[in-house]
């Protein structure tokens, strides 16, 4: 199964590039699968250590839709899905 993960802004700098291919059954697992490529944990970076909630700096989207409206990072993914992690955007 091929899942594309796109990062924007400082997160892309942190990860070293903007686009990755990951694998797993859930978004959580896909992020875990990236650790080998990036050399550090995406989950540790984007989740609050205490609460385990997504930090306010990040929105995680699955195929362009906010995962907060789904099952969060537990959402099941399918082949060729695209996960996008963006900073909050306020518009002009």
């Amino acid at each position: 199964m091929v899942i594309t993960v796109n990062f924007f802004g400082p997160l892309a700098q942190w990860a070293g590039k903007k686009s990755f291919i990951g694998e797993g059954k859930t978004i959580h697992q896909v992020f875990e699968s990236l650790e080998a490529q990036i050399g550090k944990s995406v989950l540790d970076h984007i989740l609050n250590e205490g609460t385990g909630e997504l930090k306010s700096h990040f929105h995680v989207l699955l195929n362009g839709k906010d995962t907060e409206l789904m099952e969060g990072l537990s959402e099941i993914v399918h082949d060729e899905d695209i996960i996008t992690c963006v900073p909050p955007v306020g518009g002009g």
Binding site: N6, F8, G9, P10, K17, K18, S19, E53, L54, K55, S56, H57, H59, L61, G64, K65, D66, E68, L69, T84, V86, P87, P88, V89, G90, G91, G92
Partner: protein, 727 residues
């Protein structure tokens, strides 16, 4: 130089954010007078845009509709009670209003630079300019000596960047950077004289740049009104600015929240959008990824193939474009920590009469990148820089120029226009050279550019009448509404943002409501009522910044790290975290600290609602501002007009027809599916209109009700007379 008029006045300190006076100038008679700021003005209209609208209401004839080029039309400029504060980011804005040459109704524009605060510190909360001069004039407001002069403009350069430097030097007490810093210039350019897309350039001298940069009051052609009045420039020299010059009621209260907000920006911006390094140029790649970046006249929402690392307008690309000289260089008002006013240094011009010269380019910002880049099908930063520079120095709006030329390009591609009509310009998508040549023609009022510079609404009529264009097709693809060109967001997949463009006071500019992410991406506005609530709250809230002389970027372009911990679940309005409730509370404290008027977050929204409704009523007075004027968005803003657009996202559209509309698509042609989708989406917009009018307290005709104006305390006899026929 000849002095045509002079007024001396007493210098008085600002009190609690107000100078307590406004300045009226009539250029037909050279009359100047000082008007008092009443308690009612402060209580009900607050300042900034509120004062502008109040002054225009009372100074302009009420017995007829005023045209943009009537001498009675006014340009008003004001900051606001919080404008000029040096301890809270984004506190240096000026708000300009006039009757627009494009829309025939009130246009307002919120702009950086030093002029508005300097005007207040020189003695005036607002400036009204009425009448028309016989010859070009410079108006000089001398806040050192308490003198206003109308002077004949003599031997000044026409290019706004050169004019700004010259006047900054001429009106500085000496040539030192310290003194130039106390001068701000408002000017336009020859493009404003020859088209309806004129802007005002507001200057700010920066010691590290050793240059007076400018920001633009861009929308709706206020620069065109300025040139029609034969104003070459306004110049204001301010007393030296310090923390106490605005004389706040409780400086410690404002400083405490200001410090907290400033620190939050500095700490969190590097983790989010890096506006301190790239400004709004962080947006193109995100918009591109979500199919929201206007591409080829809004036909598409993204580059045909490129995303991610290879995207030509990525933030990494613009990090290299901007000079980024360090701290304090890119703030268009003192100590603003967002500091988004980036610039490119030593850019070598490739076109025009200054070809080969190295220049400073103020920008480019997101709207210019999208308008004069992707929307032309051009993916070249040099083209964007070139268009940015020339638009500014000609006094042209990059958004209207961008959207206007994109429309022309599609008309060329579809055969409505040809080389014979355009004077040899092959205006195909992607042809940067032709687009820039057209820009120069617009500025000089020459050739085909003379027609283009009248705006898309006029072009639609002209192309039908003279070139046999299909009226429905040009209406569908010409991205203007109420006469104003769309700013640079694709709204096809967000009904709320269609309302955010269509159900606005001045036309399709995103400063009233930017709901695309909340609606189309985050799905937070599922019902018509949710959308209507957002289209009440956000325009009111965003209006508040323009009453106070503030920039809205510090409010929601850097999110507080604990924003998710606010009690907003379930994620429905009115508690959606998009409001950034913590920051709204901070602004209430800031307002209380400066004005001494103790206010809550709800109070701030009420202040805005009053002025918002008053502006709507102003438009009704102008024979506009009703349901008919909010209707009939160009269909390109609502859904796919052409086969190629539909087929570029056919899977998504087919799904909507099957699942949301409940029609079987089997065997249907693309044209049939476009038609089904159109009916559904246009009906949706009408339903949204009904829901929004109800929420705003307006009649089904789109007019504020008499009960509403009574509730807001603006039920004067003349206001009631204007709205009574539309209940």
């Amino acid at each position: 130089m000849a002095i045509l008029g002079e007024l001396s006045y007493d210098l008085k300190p600002v009190k609690k954010g107000y100078s307590g006076r406004t300045l009226y100038i009539n250029l037909s008679t050279n009359e100047m007078k000082i008007k008092p700021v009443t308690d009612e003005m402060k209580e009900k209209f607050i300042g900034g845009k509120g004062f502008d609208l109040y002054l225009m209401w009372h100074s302009m004839p009420k017995d007829r509709i005023i045209k943009w080029d009537d001498p009675e039309n006014e340009i008003c400029i004001a900051s606001g009670p919080l404008g000029g504060t040096t301890y809270y980011s984004g506190s240096g804005k000026s708000i300009c209003t006039a009757i627009s040459p494009l829309t025939g109704q009130i246009i307002d524009s919120n702009v950086g630079g030093y002029f508005g605060p300097y005007l207040k510190f020189a003695g005036f909360d607002a400036l009204e300019i009425q009448g028309k001069a016989e010859k070009e004039v410079v108006i000089f407001i001398n806040g050192d000596d308490g003198v206003v002069r109308i002077e004949e403009a003599e031997e000044l350069p026409e290019e706004a960047h050169l004019l700004t430097q010259r006047l900054t030097e001429n009106y500085s007490t000496d040539k030192s950077e310290r003194e130039k810093f106390r001068v701000s210039v408002v000017s336009s350019g020859q493009g404003a004289k020859h088209s309806k897309w004129g802007v005002l350039n507001f200057s700010w001298f920066n010691k590290k740049r050793q240059w007076a940069s400018y920001k633009q009051a861009g929308r709706g052609g206020i620069g065109t009104v300025f040139k029609d009045k034969k104003v070459t420039a306004l110049v204001c020299r301010s007393p030296r600015v310090n923390q106490t010059l605005n004389n706040p009621a409780d400086i410690e209260l404002g400083k405490a929240v200001g410090k907290e907000h400033n620190l939050e920006i500095v700490k969190n911006d590097p983790l989010q959008n890096e506006m301190r390094i790239v400004g709004t140029a962080h947006l193109p790649e995100i918009m591109n990824d979500f199919d929201l970046l206007p591409t080829e006249n809004f036909r598409f929402g993204a580059h045909p193939t490129l995303k991610g690392d290879n995207f030509p307008y990525s933030r990494d690309v613009f990090k290299k474009v901007y000079a980024n000289l360090g701290k304090g260089v890119d703030s268009c008002w003192f100590a603003c920590q967002i500091a988004c006013s980036h610039f490119a240094k030593d850019y070598t011009l490739k076109t025009g009469h200054l070809k080969g010269e190295k220049v400073i380019v103020d920008g480019p910002e997101y709207e210019t990148i999208a308008g004069c880049g992707s929307n032309w099908g051009v993916w070249d930063t040099d083209c964007v820089l070139e268009a940015n520079f020339w638009c500014d120095t000609y006094g042209l709006d990059t958004i209207s120029v961008g959207t206007g030329i994109a429309f022309v390009m599609e008309c060329y591609e579809t055969g409505i226009l040809n080389k014979e009509i355009t004077g040899g310009l092959e205006l195909k998508f992607g042809n940067a050279e032709a687009a820039l040549a057209l820009l120069h023609q617009i500025a000089h009022g020459e050739g085909f550019g003379k027609i283009v510079g009248q705006g898309i609404a006029e072009m639609k009529k002209y192309f039908v009448e003279h070139y046999g264009a299909d009226p429905q097709f040009v209406q569908d693809i010409g991205m203007e509404h109420k006469g104003l060109e769309f700013s640079e967001y694709v709204t096809k997949e967000s009904l709320a943002q269609q309302g955010g463009y269509g159900l606005t006071l001045k036309g399709p500019q995103h400063d009233e409501a930017w709901l695309i992410f909340e609606d189309a991406v985050r799905g937070n506005l599922p019902t018509f009522e949710d959308k209507a609530e957002a289209l009440w709250w956000f325009p009111c809230w965003r209006t508040w910044f323009s009453l106070n002389g503030l920039c809205k970027l510090p409010w929601n372009d850097v999110i507080p790290p604990d924003n998710n911990e606010n009690p907003q679940k379930p994620l429905t309005l009115p508690d959606a975290r998009a409001k950034i409730p913590k920051h709204v509370d901070w602004y209430a404290q800031y307002f209380s600290g400066v004005t001494g008027r103790k206010s809550s977050a709800d109070d701030l929204v009420s202040m805005s609602e009053r002025v918002y409704n008053f502006q709507r009523i102003w438009n009704v007075r102008q024979g506009r501002g009703l349901r008919k004027d909010d209707s009939n968005l160009p269909y390109r803003a609502v859904g796919p007009v052409t086969k190629v657009e539909y087929e570029s996202r056919s899977e998504m559209y087919d799904k909507q027809i099957s699942e949301d509309i409940g029609q079987d698509i089997t065997g249907k042609s693309t044209e049939e599916k476009i038609s089904i989708l159109r009916k559904y989406r246009e009906d949706g917009y009408i339903n949204l209109q009904d829901a929004v009018y109800k929420r705003r307290g307006w009649s089904p005709k789109g007019c504020p009700t008499i009960d509403k104006v009574k509730e807001l305390g603006i039920d004067s006899e003349d206001v009631v007379k204007v709205i009574s026929p539309h209940q």
